[in-house]
Chain length 339, copies 2
DNA sequence: CGGACTGCTGTAAACGTTCTCAACAATCGA
DNA sequence: TCGATTGTTGAGAACGTTTACAGCAGTCCG
């Protein structure tokens, strides 16, 4: 009836002031054609009281929230913050808000987050998972809102997907090291049961074959995690054990860790040991030596995923699409390229 | 009435199945005491249909969204992602979702974001602004929801605030360089009209005085932005012009830029020129040499701000509080400390 | 001049919750 | 046996929108 105790103006406040019905007020504010006179009156009234529509009421009625969510494994990995930036850009152009969720790469958390979508506080989700299981596929199929995946869904999952070709990327990195004259090329991987872990391992093996190397398991090391600390530890073991002349690291954080380990072992980079990372994060430009790395197109993938998601939200019937982004080797100092 | 075409179960679906009223169903699901038998029936019905309450309806009615927002200048600066991580943690423990907004340090954007809060899609906002104006103070006073500020509000603004003492921090950094034997200590600042810019400059001047130095304007350089690129450019100018034996940089990104500039100028760090940054971001641990820096307690400040915000949301009448976090010098390699 | 349009408008019914209130049954004390 | 008390329930009114529908002027055509 009257002004709310709260003081926040509602559509009714505006309508009352403009001497029209709430319906008319609503129409004006949604740009539906009305008599110029009503239009003017409503506009003025709205401006006078500083009316802003209530998001909850609007979404309750229209079944749209204007929000999308991004669920990622780890806020502190710069590759994901790059993705966040990219998503935020597209979302904003679309007039959507962005909700962030960090899953700590925990499958259980990812699944319960998917279940939570039933609350419909969001119009769609971009899910970046390191380890996509059948349970994910089911949860997504049963999900209340559209989901776009960045990563590698299980075969046959009907989801909009953006994938990187990290197997190729890994192979390129190793071939590059070979071309730089390295002959004992080690591989510092992250957890192998993750999708990136297994794909990158395959790429490494592909390249070994292509270069005519024997497989040597002593050149193989696995870090507990895709982090700098784990990378440093694992690299230390590796350097101590196998004396490689190059290390291909499964991501930039591991590479930064390896750099520290090499320094601790008084090995020159790239002199004694060359290093290649993966992801082309902002870190790669600030280390010394700067880091040769493989750009898997993180920002680009995030952008594409967002666009796929928005397209599906607009047209839910749409056939799921999969797009791939090709890797690109970025040569900097750490690989000791002669050029 | 019947199952929605949508298929999503509502409270009515549950009530119908359990043979009770929606009111009873609601009570059960909100943990209000009911007859054990109804409780059981409702629980079972809810589980059977996989009921999840609708967020929009719930917030419309209860005037709570369970969401808080964080507005920050720049997603790609690791100090802010550290804050995001910290906020996400507290928010999650509180059962709140986190909305992210990047303002590009643009005052207009910050203000329009504040105005948007009238939509009430969020229970509160944590605002991190580099340049807090009177307009901000007004907008916050008129805001629809509580706001907590990380930074330096204008005097007299009645807002929950968490501030860093970056003036002290800056002075500590410079004194440290002096203690390391440096005598031509330059200052690489970011834009001076920002709060951090001006505070850090004051701190630098404080320290000069304390160490008994003359003020020398040639040791003074301002980068266009708090970024690596701007830092590198400005540092190059500085090194070329003034030959300092140390540079105190107003944040870690600038310091990383300075490191690159020094390298380009074939100056050893810390041998020829010592470097100190500010913020103690993750970057500081990965550069080579590792970066001496001043920890302004970013994560801690973010945590405190979130707690202040949540407390105010719970009790809006509460008197605004200001808490400060003291800086802490973190000595690493780049300052050439002899110890 | 009557009927069929056209152009706007207001009434009222959703959307899915929460919560006040009154109704009702059962228990108790006198 | 009756009134008061307690415990539990359902009807229904919010919350602030959007939108289907009907109504009511005018205009146009035959």
């Amino acid at each position: 009836m009257q002004q709310l105790p709260d003081g926040t103006p509602t559509l009714e406040t505006v309508a009352r002031l403009a001497n029209v019905s709430v319906a008319s007020a609503s129409r004006v504010l949604n740009g539906i054609k009305t008599h110029p006179e009503t239009l003017r009156r409503v506009r003025e009234a709205a401006a006078a009281v500083g009316y802003v529509p209530n998001a909850a009421a609007r979404s309750l009625r229209s079944r749209r929230t204007g929000q999308i969510a991004f669920a990622m494994p780890d806020v502190s990995n710069p590759i994901y913050t790059a993705m966040v930036g990219s998503i935020a850009l597209v979302a904003r152009a679309n007039g959507s808000r962005l909700i962030l969720h960090s899953t700590d790469a925990n499958t259980g958390d990812e699944l319960s987050f998917l279940a939570d979508l039933k609350q419909r506080y969001v119009d769609g989700l971009i899910l970046c998972s390191l380890d996509f299981t059948d349970a994910h596929a089911e949860a997504i199929a049963a999900s209340a809102v559209p989901v776009a995946v960045i990563g590698n869904p299980t075969k046959g999952a009907k989801v909009d997907t953006v994938r990187a070709n990290s197997r190729h990327g890994a192979a390129d990195a190793v071939k590059h090291l070979h071309a730089c004259g390295r002959r004992r090329i080690a591989f510092l991987n992250g957890p192998e049961r993750t999708a990136p872990g297994s794909a990158r391992k395959l790429g490494y093996l592909d390249a070994l074959r292509a270069c005519g190397f024997e497989r040597d398991d002593s050149l193989f090391e696995v870090a507990a995690d895709f982090t700098v600390e784990a990378g440093e530890e694992a690299a230390a073991r590796l350097l101590d054990r196998a004396r490689p002349d190059a290390i291909f690291c499964a991501n930039d954080l591991l590479a930064v860790g390896a750099l520290a380990a090499a320094r601790a072992a008084r090995l020159g980079v790239p002199g004694d040991v060359a290093l290649v990372g993966m992801d082309d994060t902002t870190l790669a430009r600030v280390t010394s030596p700067t880091l040769t790395t493989v750009d898997l197109g993180g920002a680009e993938r995030a952008r594409l995923a967002t666009e796929l998601l928005l397209a599906r939200i607009a047209r839910p019937g749409r056939r799921p699409r999969t797009v791939a982004v090709e890797p690109r080797l970025v040569v900097r100092e750490s690989s000791g390229a002669t050029s």
